[in-house]
């Protein structure tokens, strides 16, 4: 009999999940595929927040800036350097990671509100800076074109299905890598650092180095998510990365539960589904335009409060607790 280690089990789980997505992708329409691509992209961004805030205990309000770094890198590699989109996205991960590494080195001494303030300033200033360099295309930005799917997939293979395949596969691989990383020693040292940095240091953990590493890893994941986001809107520009994006992703992470990766898809779903739910609610009740535009924000805020009150560790954690109780 084959011995199934947790790592093998996880790999099988991800392959199974990918297979389900593949089948689902053939059964739903273009609009659902497009929304699914956004879910995958936001799930990745939430993963990067969980990695940084949930595991290493550092708060970032500037993830939109890190996503922008990945997005611009990807766009430049594809549009200016003429590289293959897949290579462009991989470069996004690395360049955003290096950016995060440098940023991590600078902010490693900061914590709490100081770190939040610094990253907030980054989120506000970085996209505006992009306006200053002609190569980045100014306010209109640059095209991010992954092209159409290969002809061998057939005529029926739409642009949206192609987007879905790329973003779902990228998200699956990345989340799998992060889940593996967190299940080994790094995950435990990260948690130790988060819960009690002094105790962690006393047990021989290099807290400073670990913080920088968490920043770099989280940045890399955010970079990929930024790259995917601008793929979905076919181009990158400063206004694609507003401060509200940072907050939306953070909200998604809190709703998901900051301390485990199990619910990232749920977080992504929440961010995509809320405007849709608001939309159908308004069309059913027949509200005014002002009502339509404010309802999504209201629903997200309500959900955030409910999540904090009832499942502070996320619905994934709730399941786990239930599971434990059963065992007992």
């Amino acid at each position: 009999m084959i011995k199934t280690t947790p790592t093998k089990k996880r790999l099988l789980l991800f392959i199974f999940f990918g297979w389900i997505l593949l089948i689902l992708g053939d059964r739903v329409g273009d609009l659902e595929l497009y929304q699914g691509s956004f879910v995958a992209t936001y799930a990745l961004a939430i993963t990067s927040i969980i990695l940084l805030t949930g595991y290493s205990g550092q708060l970032s309000l500037g993830h939109s800036a890190l996503m922008a770094v990945g997005a611009y890198t990807g766009a430049l590699s594809i549009f200016n350097a003429g590289l293959h989109p897949v290579i462009g996205l991989i470069i996004s991960v690395f360049v955003a990671g290096i950016f995060g590494l440098i940023l991590g080195l600078v902010v490693a001494r900061l914590s709490g509100p100081y770190l939040a303030g610094t990253t907030l300033a980054l989120a506000i200033s970085l996209p505006t800076l992009a306006n200053q360099f002609p190569i980045l295309g100014g306010e209109e930005g640059i095209v991010f074109d992954v092209g159409v799917a290969s002809a061998r997939f057939g005529d029926e293979f739409s642009q949206y299905k192609w987007f879905f395949w790329i973003s779902a596969l990228a998200a699956l691989i990345m989340v799998w890598l992060v889940a593996n990383l967190l299940s080994v020693r790094y995950g435990r040292t990260f948690k130790a650092m988060r819960d009690n940095p002094v105790a962690a240091q006393l047990s021989g953990i290099n807290v400073g180095q670990l913080k920088v590493m968490a920043f770099a890893l989280s940045s890399g994941v955010a970079g990929l998510s930024g790259g995917l986001l601008v793929m979905l809107i076919s181009g990158v520009s400063p206004s694609a990365f507003p401060l509200s994006l940072s907050f939306a992703v953070l909200t998604g992470a809190v709703v998901t539960g900051l301390y485990n990766l199990k619910g990232v898809i749920l977080g992504g779903l929440v961010l995509v589904a809320i405007p849709e739910i608001a939309d159908s609610l308004v069309s059913r009740i027949g509200g005014s335009e002002g009502f339509t535009t404010t309802l999504p924000g209201f629903l997200v805020s309500a959900l955030l409060i409910l999540a904090v009150v009832f499942t502070p560790n996320g619905p994934g954690h709730l399941l786990k607790r239930h599971h434990h109780k059963k065992k007992v």
Partner: protein
């Protein structure tokens, strides 16, 4: 059980025919055009309704809806009522892309009208696959000349004149009217300002000084320092402000506190020259009196203009509680152009038919614009000219020198020409029957 071979064949054939009939009966006789039924035409718009841009441009969809409702109350277009589905993109590219995709895939609209913003709409156009589905993309509200490129945007028609056109025409105007005066330019450092700077170059205007500032960086202190520097230019320099209205207001207020209002001849570009907004932002009426501004529309306060007064009447009835201003005028005008385009496309409405109808008849559409519409088989650019006026203390824009002088040009190296264009008269009661 079927034993006989021919019986078997016959039953197989009948089964195939029956199945075929079943399939055919469920298919419509002809693939219907999305968004068009016997009684309705569905149109869509993605524009900012909330956020900072929403404050300035949020009235556009409401004004368009008001005009469409007026037309619907008067029989619609070829018996069909127009429904405009409006979605808020908060002026964010990501939302513009998803909202426009929603309009196409979920709301199933026939065409888009009045999309607003360069960075937002350029993304939305690709993301919603408008070119692939041949979705008409009518009367886009931006001065970015790039939307006229039919290889990138094969279904797009823009309506506003480009920033480059404005700067070129302004060059000619300054050279003719303010001969001998030095010219200083203060422009926003992005596509908008750069398009303008290139336009001034194409218009061969000699600039004594050019200041480019990043958006929202021109603080009161900087504006004062800038004006103090520029006041060293001898004589009465012409000061061109090619930026958004808040910046124009900031510069004018700085001049007030430095007592430099009379030192310069002030010219505000069309984007930053809206008198109502300038007054609301605290610029003194006496300062505004005499400021030169560019426009291609009649003044939204001019009740003697037949289009303005008709639109005002419609606004009162169908857009209750909304003040009539330049933005409402622009929205209603685009809606009026849309109605003419739909009429011109005929009863058998198709997407391709609508596009070719604007190409062939668009230049003759009736509209409030005082400058020509430039649609043709080779041009997707709408208005292609400007006139210059002077603001008075109550914020009304009156033609410079008393007579309306219109100039037309293109966004490239084309000549700047004086035009004798007379716009078509207002259709009776504002209901087009001409196309």
């Amino acid at each position: 059980m079927i034993r006989n071979k021919s019986m078997k064949r016959a039953s197989l054939a009948s089964a195939v025919i029956a199945a075929g009939a079943l399939v055919l009966s469920t298919l419509p006789a002809q693939a219907a055009t999305p968004g068009v039924s016997a009684t309705e035409i569905k149109l869509g718009i993605s524009s900012p309704l909330t956020g900072s841009a929403g404050v300035a441009y949020g009235k556009v969809p409401g004004a368009m809806k008001a005009y469409f409702n007026y037309i619907n109350a008067n029989g619609g277009v070829n018996g069909r009522k127009i429904t405009l589905i409006s979605r808020d993109d908060k002026y964010l590219p990501t939302l513009a892309a998803t909202q426009t995709t929603n309009l196409i895939l979920k709301d199933n609209v026939f065409a888009l009208v009045g999309a607003l913003g360069t960075a937002t709409h350029s993304k939305a156009y690709k993301a919603a696959a408008l070119a692939k589905n041949n979705v008409p993309d009518l009367f886009v509200n931006t001065g970015f000349s790039g939307f006229g490129d039919t290889t990138k945007y094969p279904t797009t028609f823009t309506v506003l004149p480009s920033y480059a056109m404005e700067a070129k025409i302004m060059s000619k105007f300054i050279k003719e009217k303010f001969t001998g005066q030095a010219v200083a330019l203060i422009a926003q450092d992005d596509e908008f300002g750069i398009d303008g700077v290139n336009g001034f170059k194409a218009g061969a205007l000699t600039l004594a000084s050019t200041t480019l500032y990043p958006q929202s960086s021109l603080t009161d202190a900087r504006a004062k320092a800038l004006l103090t520097g520029l006041s060293a230019i001898p004589g009465k320099p012409v000061l061109v402000m090619f930026g958004t209205t808040d910046v124009t207001a900031g510069i004018l207020k700085a001049a007030e506190s430095l007592d430099l209002v009379s030192k310069f001849t002030w010219i505000a570009g069309s984007v930053g020259g809206d008198a109502n907004t300038l007054l609301a932002l605290g610029v003194k009426a006496t300062t505004l009196n005499g400021v030169v501004a560019a426009s291609f529309f009649p003044d939204a306060k001019d009740k003697s203009d037949e289009y303005v007064s008709q639109f005002m009447t419609i606004n009162e009835k169908y857009n209750k509680g909304v003040t009539f201003d330049n933005v409402v005028l622009q929205g209603m005008n685009s809606a009026m152009l849309t109605v003419q385009a739909l009429r011109a496309a005929g009863k058998n409405l198709t997407r391709a038919g609508l596009i070719s109808a604007i190409e062939s008849k668009g230049a003759k559409f009736a509209g409030a614009g005082l400058v020509p519409l430039n649609y043709s088989a080779t041009s997707r650019i709408g208005y292609n000219g400007y006139w210059f006026g002077q603001l008075n203390a109550s914020g009304e824009l009156k033609p410079y020198g008393g007579t309306l002088a219109i100039f037309t040009t293109d966004s490239g190296a084309g000549a700047i020409e004086a035009s004798t264009y007379k716009r078509p008269t207002m259709p009776k009661n504002g209901i087009p029957t001409n196309s």
